[in-house]
Amino acid sequence: MTNPFDDITAPDVDVIMLVGSNPEEAHPVLGTKIRRAVREGCKLIVVDPRKIDLAKNAEIHLQLKPGTNVAFANGMMHIILEEGLEDAEFIKSRTEGFEELREIVKDYTPEKVAEVCNIDAGELRKAARLYAKAKKAPIMYCLGVTEHSTGTEGVMSLSNLAMLVGKIGRSGCGINPIRGQNNVQGACDMGCLPGDFPGYQKVKNEDALKKFSEHWGVPLNPTVGITATRMPGAVAEGKVKALYIFGEDPMRTDPDIGHIKKMLTGLDFLVVQELFMTKTAELADVVLPGVSYAEKEGTFTNSERRVQRVRKAVELNLGMRPDVEIFYDIMNRLGYPQPRLSASEIMDEISELVPSFRGINYARLDAGESLHWPCMDEKDMGKAILHVGKFTRGLGYFYPAQYKPSAELPDEEYPFLMITGRMLYHYNAGAMTHRTEGISELHSSSYMEMHKGDAEALGIKNGDRVKVASRRGEIETRAVVGDKVNYGEVFMTFHFDDGNVNHLTNAAIDSFANVPEYKVCAVRIRRA
């Protein structure tokens, strides 16, 4: 996120634009902040294929056809330029690449975009004016934007939109991806990426390679690694033989499970370090019992880049071991002399190697200081708002993006467009929440939302069991009939083992970021 939560939901924010994001369910406490802002007069633009709860309070709800975010953003920019609502001064002094963008969005007339996105051209115009004319208007987006085969373009076109009207680098604005898992931000910051050392220092950069080699005392591999989403292919080709999975359950959270199972069983050796016997762990050669967040010291970095302490509340003494100690053992046994550092000492090593963490240490955090990275020294509280006065890369670059239809669209055989998302009571694969009575009672099985018109045509009633099939698999689930989704579209959440929607989803891959296409695939439906 470029701006913190409180800043983008403050009383002086005029308009909030939510794109493919349902914070009331996925990030509930943020949802309360948005509800409060709206009550106090902030206007809301909801861009989402579903009638999410917040859409009721929205000034404008653009119920986009799933997978058409790029067309939507380009259409907004077209209108802004046509009506002269852009921030010319900002474009001139702070950005580059504007001319090319102007060329590209020329074609995206409101009428054309309305057709692609299945929305009303007048509403799109209204949204563009509302957003462009607001003094303070943040964009928030979520997996709904990134989980497409064209996800990266979706993100770029939103940032183009914000730059075009100068709504970045200042309070109450910005482009704000709301991260899914609690510490996705941190895992990326810490270098759990195939091309990046900690702090996004590139493996390809010779200076970075040298710096880390020297600091860690071994020559390092200069070849960029393979992303998780390309892993199935790499295993099938015999390039990768062994996989060490630390606390993830790809068997439940990855799209296209058949594909993943093939990968995991195609390995010579699979290690899984987990809290529970998950579907993935079942396929392992060795399973190592790790510990939960409540049994260790450490930090999480939230969506605002705020680094916060995790503290040990209990020790179970049942035989499991702190995850990092398992790593120490393996490292040393492999011949790498890794000293057994405490969590606080690891943070010291991080702040030595990562300039944007230089000012972060446990003494400060435990004294109650709240720190955002980049935090350059002991006195710095960190930058809560990014790109103020100057972009991190100098000038802000407009990355023009063209709309491309989703990789898989409905056809005669699979006539429905399926989208997936998250619901309030569960958290991704639900390993934590399924183990809480009460929560699992509230919602314990999968369901699929569909439009009442479609249901009627298929003779399906609310609550009926239905069979849903895609090109990759078939599942059975319960139909929830209503008008939350549009005609021809259906929605499922991905928390449940029974009727796991990931059996159906599509692993077509985003050409930039290797994000699997989660959101959209084509399915057919019949009564079970």
């Binding site: 899914g180 990426l193 690694g225 989403t229 993830e248 967040y293 179970l316 183990r435």
Partner: protein, 362 residues
């Protein structure tokens, strides 16, 4: 807001101590700023004063209406002389507590909030052991709203401070709770008497955390612990990237509950996942406790020595035969920064590959 009114200050004395505060400050806040504690029940610092419970009364020398005013709502004025514990203040507070007890089921012994109830605390402090009102209507004993799975509502313990309704409406933005009835029959109710369940009520438990008495209490607390038995450890919610702060409450080596903390993003609120879904899984009976090695398609328990030995042997073999890039690792975007750092260091420095990723993309 930062106009001249905020710049101008007033000086007053509270309990004979002089105190200078910006104009517009309430007496309660002024007193707090010089370390004087005034009891409150309905007051919530995030919201405009409700001013209904009157337990926060103080005496202003020469003030109107005998000088007794609610300090949470009354602004400081130049030269004001305030007493927070004068004879009259104490008598007034005793009277208020006496009235509250006149319609309160006193069963502190078995109440979930025994030890963390403000009514109990103030009654002890002011020596009000039982009510002196012998006649009058009483809310029927024990009958409550048990429609929510995580907490119950007991109207016979409700003191009508309305904190729950304010939290639900103004902070949670949900309007589940409201005040219904008139006179004695006034009570906290759900709008249209719906159940405190999905979809309107999100079971966030923020009303429970705000309740000063045992009227709203979590079943986990009722059954498993009292506040004086637990140790609190402040930590960050493991569920989503909002990063709410809460205290994990432990008793005899077990986590029994979670209470919100006034963290930078959550400001004292939590959602159902943080409040009720963040600790039971830790003690779940199906936690893995020992390393397992698969032999002939079946897992067998192994020692750490065996398991780590096997891993290191296998990895070394594969690395020798196929090169380090034949090995890959997926890290955990739910685990800590420190774990993630060390995981990628293990992959890069000890194994020798950049094949390391997390599920950010997923």
């Amino acid at each position: 807001m930062v106009t001249d009114s905020a710049i101008k200050t007033v000086t007053l004395t509270i309990d004979n101590k002089s105190c200078t505060v910006p104009k517009g400050t309430t007496i309660l806040k002024a007193a707090q700023s010089i370390g004087i504690d005034i009891p409150t029940l309905c007051y919530m610092k995030e919201l405009v004063p409700d001013g209904s419970c009157r337990i926060c009364v103080v005496e202003i020398e020469g003030g109107r209406k005998g000088g007794l005013v609610p300090s949470c709502a009354e602004h400081c004025a130049e030269g004001m002389v305030v007493y927070t514990r004068s004879q009259r203040v104490v008598e007034a507070r005793k009277f208020i507590l006496d009235l509250l007890l006149s319609d309160h089921t006193l069963e502190c012994f078995s109440c979930a909030r025994n030890g963390s109830c403000k009514l109990q605390e103030y009654c002890l402090e002011y020596g009000v052991e039982r009510t002196s009102f012998r006649i009058g209507k009483r809310t029927p004993f024990g009958k409550g709203d048990t429609s929510n799975r995580f907490f119950e509502f007991r109207p016979d313990k409700c003191i009508m401070c309305r904190r729950c309704a304010h939290v639900c409406e103004k902070l949670q933005g949900r309007d589940v709770l409201s005040i219904a009835g008139r006179g004695f029959d006034t009570h906290i109710s759900t709008c249209y008497d719906i159940a405190r369940t999905d979809p309107t009520c999100e079971s966030c438990g923020n009303c429970v955390s705000a309740c000063p008495t045992g009227a709203l209490s979590s079943y986990d607390q009722k059954r498993n612990y009292r506040s004086y038995e637990v140790t609190s450890t402040q930590t960050t919610c493991p569920h989503c990237a909002v990063g709410c702060q809460f205290n994990l409450l432990t008793k005899n080596g077990k986590i029994v509950g979670a209470d919100p903390v006034d963290g930078p993003t959550n400001k004292g609120l939590l959602c159902v996942k943080g409040k009720y879904g963040s600790y039971k899984f830790v003690h779940s009976g199906d936690r893995l406790t020992t390393p397992l090695i698969k032999k002939d398609g079946k897992f067998e328990p192994a020692t750490w020595e065996e398991a780590l030995g096997l891993i290191v042997n296998k990895l070394t073999q594969i690395k020798k035969k196929e090169g380090a890039d034949a090995i890959a690792g997926f890290s955990c975007s739910r685990s800590t920064n420190e774990d993630n750092y060390m995981f990628q260091k293990m992959m890069r420095a000890a194994i020798g590959t950049n094949n390391v990723d997390n599920c950010a993309r997923v």
